[in-house]
Amino acid sequence: MDVKLQGINKSFGNVSILEDVNLLFPSRKFVTLLGPSGCGKTTLLRMIAGLEEVSAGTILFGGREVNKLAPRDRNIAMVFQSYALYPQMTVRRNLGYGLRVRKTPPAEIDDAVERVARILEIDHLLDRKPAQLSGGQRQRVALGRAMVRKPDIFLMDEPLSNLDAKLRVTMRGELRRFHLDLNATTVYVTHDQLEAMTMSDLIAVMHKGRVQQFGTPEDVYSRPANLFVAGFIGSPPMNFLDGAIDLGRFKVREAALPLPPLASGVAPGLDAVIGVRPQDLSLVDTAGSDALTGKVSLVELLGSEKLIEVQVSDRKRISVQVHAATQVALGEKVHVRFSAQSTHVFDKRTEQSLLAEAAIGEARQ
């Protein structure tokens, strides 16, 4: 079932939480609401669940308006950050609670609970209480409670944030697999861009109550629509340099860096910001107009790669990711080369992308 959000606004008193959110989550897709804390992503999820009222706008499930429907009438299921398992009930009763409330015959409840418990490999825990389970097991029970009712829409609010790092990686894969098995539309909230990138079909990047960009993980990574998205997505974060556009090149200090094709109508001399990911920069032996020169101020070994910080001016450092075998010494003078096709250009004032293909992408939306 697809989920359509039309002109959604939300405010608490005078404080505006969400402004003019328009999104379409296609049926059976895994969609992630991604953003820093306080961006409104959880509020938006709770509005889809019916736990929070909509101040203005319309929420449609498969074309049907659900604004006034109670959570129980929306056929949704939700996994909470704290799991919210009923502490006095056994795992079996936790899993079957939604069905019991809906007066499903006991035999059917038993079947559904056993089936879900088998899928999640928690069938040996059915008679325990939540307090007797590990974090990962609780997480599975919470998932199971959501799966047991076969909902149309699956909502998850940072479900992995209470797990340790290793388990989180395993669960990412499992969540994705369950999503494919369940055939439901999944809306997933996280502040972890890696989670969003690895699991999603589509990502809505949110900031200050607005959707900054909505697209595939590939889109938001390779074609960030604005400075916020560019800086938020990617690790290590993107380098930004201030300068001006001049004859299709980017003037910063002595260099004139090459730029990809810009959107039409970009005025010459416009103040701009370019962004380049550390992975897209390279160290070269000779200086040139497409390179900035500086001294190595920090070398971090990441494993198979090295992250090198180069001081290109008094106040500006840029980081370059190179192969771990590259030998660089602290204080060494290096040249950092920029390449046109991996450079992102943003208007310094509006912070919007100035790239030709970003403009096309926006028009498509």
């Binding site: 709770r46 669940a49 019916g50 736990l51 109670a70 959570p71 129980r72 949704i76 299921a77 939700m78 909470f80 950050q81 704290s82 919210a84 398992l85 009923y86 502490p87 006095q88 009930m89 609670y97 939604g98 409330v101 809906r102 209480k129 307090a131 007797q132 409670r145």
Partner: protein
């Protein structure tokens, strides 16, 4: 090892630190209880301290064969159970209301403490005026709206006197229950309610399946404390009805007082106290076991 080294050891310093508590507890807790138990086995008339004699079990034999002891026990049990029942029901209900986030709720929460703060003697005297059949405001109000045709003798018929003492106790100590429950309510995770809503539970189901289980432990503790305090309660009954009319509102505390002070049988009064203590100890332990207090922690 020399004597000096023990005095300066950590052990000696530790003993020094706990000594004040141990001494206080011995003087103010252990000694009075021990003295009461001792006195239960003696004949002791405070006006004739020279005639103290060992009584063996005769004080206990006396109370167990005294019909007034048994009727006091029965009335005390009724008064305790009904008081606790109403306090718990009202306490939970009021706590749920006060838990709502409404404008001005803080004022109501503050007012709530009022009955708990006012000294019992003041309350009891005011209630005696309120319930006065001729000039009391309750009868005046009921008569003037026509709910009753003639004055009700609130404190002078056995049933009404018992009801009045229970009302006073409920009125005064419900705030205690409210405060305990309210504190617990404020720490119930909100996500549990959200989860129950998504699961399809209506307001009543959410109360049964989320709120009540979370209140379980605090209610067990509150009920134990209130039971002990109420069963032993003396001043409310004595100040409001003096145990009357007749002996219809006697509980064991009033019985013990009457035996000690009016009949000058301190040994019998002490024996009553010992019996009450044993009853409450057995009752509390059985209740905590049956209610399963602390089981959750043990399982975890």
């Amino acid at each position: 090892m020399s004597r000096f080294s023990f005095l300066s050891s950590d052990r000696a310093v530790g003993l020094l630190f706990i000594a004040p508590f141990v001494v206080t507890a011995l003087v103010f807790m252990v000694y009075p209880i021990a003295e009461a138990i001792r006195m239960a086995f003696f004949n002791y008339n405070p006006l004739r301290p020279d005639l103290v004699s060992y009584a063996g079990m005769s004080n206990f034999e006396f109370i167990f064969s005294d019909p007034l002891f048994w009727s006091s026990f029965g009335q005390g049990t009724v008064w305790t159970l009904l008081s606790i029942l109403f306090q718990t029901v009202f306490g939970v209900g009021i706590a749920l209301l006060l838990h709502r986030k409404l404008f001005g709720m803080a004022i109501f929460r503050g007012m709530l403490l009022f009955p708990y703060i006012v000294p019992t003697v003041v309350i009891a005297l005011i209630w005696r005026w309120i319930f006065n059949p001729e000039i009391g405001v309750v009868n005046y109000g009921l008569l003037s709206v026509g709910l009753i045709g003639e004055p009700i003798y609130w404190l002078s018929t056995p049933t009404m006197a018992m009801a009045s003492t229970i009302m006073l106790n409920v009125w005064k100590y419900t705030p205690f229950v409210v405060i305990c429950v309210l504190a617990r309510l404020q720490s119930v995770p909100l996500e549990l309610y959200d989860a129950a809503k998504v699961d399809g539970a209506g307001a009543f189901r959410r109360f049964l399946d989320v709120t009540l289980p979370q209140l379980r432990e605090v209610l067990i503790v509150v009920i134990v404390f209130r039971t002990i305090w109420t069963f032993n309660k003396f001043e409310e009954i004595y100040l409001l009805t003096k145990g009357g009319p007749g002996t219809s509102t006697f509980n064991l505390a009033v019985y013990s007082f009457e035996q000690s002070m009016a009949s000058l049988r301190l040994g019998v009064g002490a024996a009553t106290g010992v019996v009450m203590m044993i009853m409450l100890m057995i009752g509390s332990v059985v209740y905590l076991r049956v209610a399963g207090f602390g089981n959750e922690e043990k399982e975890a």
